[in-house]
């Protein structure tokens, strides 16, 4: 019979994580971390945004990049889903479209780590749905 994960395992994870967190990390404010918002409206979810979000969370942790990854609603770029908005500390947010795991990997390596811009960036749209 396989062991069932239980709350006792959570306690162990908590102490593991806290032991590894450096003092600097503990005082890390959201502003000093990379913010990533994944569009998770119906169109995003249907196009595979969940896979992108899972990938981002796991990979950023693996590569030790302090980041906050959250879900957001429709950003209006339904034709280019999955879309993610990446904000590096001190920079304007940039929206990437047509993101899959491969593209997400490039975004992490090129944009997040080095500030290099990539193809597939969606420019800011100042029109709303009424066309004004």
């Amino acid at each position: 019979m396989t062991k069932i994960t239980s709350l006792a395992d959570l306690r162990k994870i908590k102490s593991d994580v806290e032991a590894k967190m450096s003092l600097r990390e503990r005082s890390e404010t959201p502003d000093s971390m990379v913010q990533i918002r994944v569009a998770m409206a119906t169109c995003g979810i249907a196009s595979g945004a969940k896979i992108v979000m899972d990938y981002m969370i796991t990979e950023l942790d693996k590569r030790s990049i302090p980041a906050v990854v959250t879900q957001t609603g429709c950003m209006g770029y339904c034709y280019a889903e999955p879309t993610i908005e990446v904000t590096r500390p001190g920079h304007q947010p940039i929206v990437f479209g047509y993101v899959d795991s491969k593209k997400a990997d490039q975004i992490i390596e090129k944009y997040i780590k080095n500030g290099e811009l990539l193809e597939g960036i969606i420019p800011v749209n100042y029109e709303n749905i009424e066309g004004k």
Binding site: I4, D9, L10, I13, V17, E18, M75, G76, I129
Partner: protein, 181 residues
């Protein structure tokens, strides 16, 4: 949507947008009665009679970035395709309950998908909201409450990637244990 878990991810967002502080998901598998029941219960701002009627219309939405809202209409269609239904009960200022039923044995019933991952993602994205998840099968009941998890975590945030991975494992192991489909 490819599977039920993606619909769940989508509909839970509705509850978040409605300002809910407590969101419950109940899944009840009743193969003996040929029913697969899914219930969403939230304490968000609710809707009036008129809006409840409009909300399953794909051309109605509360968002301002687009003119269509497909979440509920698509789920309703998928439920009805299996001979099931989708009913909405809502009271303005109190909350909303969405009950949807699928015929268990129907060929068109969507595969369940990654419910554990969906829940892990959702609870970690909204650390201030309490989520409760109950899954019932003929083999057993599994209950999950973020209040317990947060109590255990203390200062550590529920959005920590390792905690997210833990929650996924916790749910998956327990679902396997009660032989969820």
């Amino acid at each position: 949507m490819k599977d039920l878990a993606l619909h769940i991810l989508d509909i839970l967002q509705n509850s978040v947008t409605a300002g809910a502080t407590l969101i419950e998901l109940k899944i009840d598998e009743m193969p003996a009665q040929d029913k697969y029941l899914v219930k969403f219960i939230d304490n968000g701002k609710g809707m009036d009679e008129e809006m409840v009627q409009k909300v399953t219309d794909p051309f109605f939405t509360t968002r301002t970035t687009r003119k269509v809202g497909l979440g509920l209409p698509l789920l309703k269609q998928n439920a009805e395709r299996t001979g099931g239904y989708l009913i909405i009960h809502s009271t303005q200022g109190k909350g909303t309950e969405i009950e949807t039923q699928f015929t268990f044995s129907h060929f068109d019933r969507l595969p369940t998908g990654d419910i554990a991952g969906t829940l892990a993602l959702t609870v970690s994205s909204y650390p201030a909201i309490e989520f409760k998840y109950t899954h019932i099968t003929p083999q057993g009941i599994f209950k999950f409450d973020t209040l317990e998890i947060k109590e255990e975590l203390g200062d550590l945030t529920i959005s920590n990637p390792r905690v997210i991975a833990f929650i996924k494992d916790l749910i998956n192991d327990n679902l396997k244990d009660i032989k969820a489909s």
